[in-house]
Symmetry: C2
């Protein structure tokens, strides 16, 4: 027996269940984003700029220190190609904070890499970043906006 | 006459209307954030570090270039006090992109300010930033995470 009221409540319950599922999904991004960061560093450290670029959204923007913003996956790939050719390597990324909702997430993170110093010797560089993540139509979390800067050198 | 189906659809329509209202609310933050940015620059340029700090969330974090992250409104106020005492002035902020939903917003922006050069003469500095905004319990939009870096000097 379905009275209108029962059907209405049932309908609303369905909506609520859907909402709860979205909350569950929204709690899920950390695993996907951790995996994407691992793929980012693996690609970067093996010199695969295209592999790095593929992790960004099509209309991503990066905001590198000392440079102009770079828009679009193709230009971003070229940027990272230049960084790799410039000798940057051994990139490590660490999530400090991650908050996700409704297909967007913001991440605060720390980075460490090795870069050629003035004398050519490799030296560690520390930095920090904020990435705005965007979930694409297939549910993949992609770097959408990406800004970073340096931190003081380690002791 | 309400058939169960009609009532169900009516219930769903209500949910859809609520969703559309949220979209309308999500379109509203721009005015509040523009006003807060205007208060930020006015306070900064008049040397009022406390006025700048008051625009951040209680648990805000700023990520300044070349420095460690600074957490909490009090420490952030002290940071800006130091920047003002260091001679930074004539700050201008410009929203490049703003996207808000559910009490969070991310903003990509450009900045320009005057800073003392090596010889002591004032010179322009350009930069860019991402701010994650958070709406507090009273509905005020506050800077919650704030990272920036420099851009190439103007021609």
């Amino acid at each position: 027996m379905h009275t209108p009221r029962k059907v209405l409540l049932s309908g609303l319950a369905g909506v609520l269940v859907a909402a709860v599922s979205n909350v569950a999904l929204a709690g899920d991004p950390r695993g996907a984003i951790e995996e994407t960061l691992a793929r980012f560093t693996a690609a970067f450290n093996s010199g695969d700029a295209a592999g790095v670029g593929a992790l960004y959204s099509e209309d991503a923007v990066i905001l590198p220190p000392g440079g102009e913003s770079v828009s679009g996956r193709e230009a971003i790939t070229a940027f990272w190609q230049g960084a790799i050719e410039g000798g940057l390597t051994d990139l490590e990324l660490q999530i400090v904070e991650l908050e996700a909702q409704d297909g967007r997430a913001f991440e605060v993170g720390k980075l460490r890499l090795m870069a050629p110093g003035e004398g050519g010797e490799m030296q560690p560089v520390l930095g920090k970043y904020i990435v705005v993540w965007k979930q694409d139509g297939e549910g993949n979390w992609r770097l959408h906006r990406d800004i970073w800067n340096t931190s003081p050198a380690a002791e």
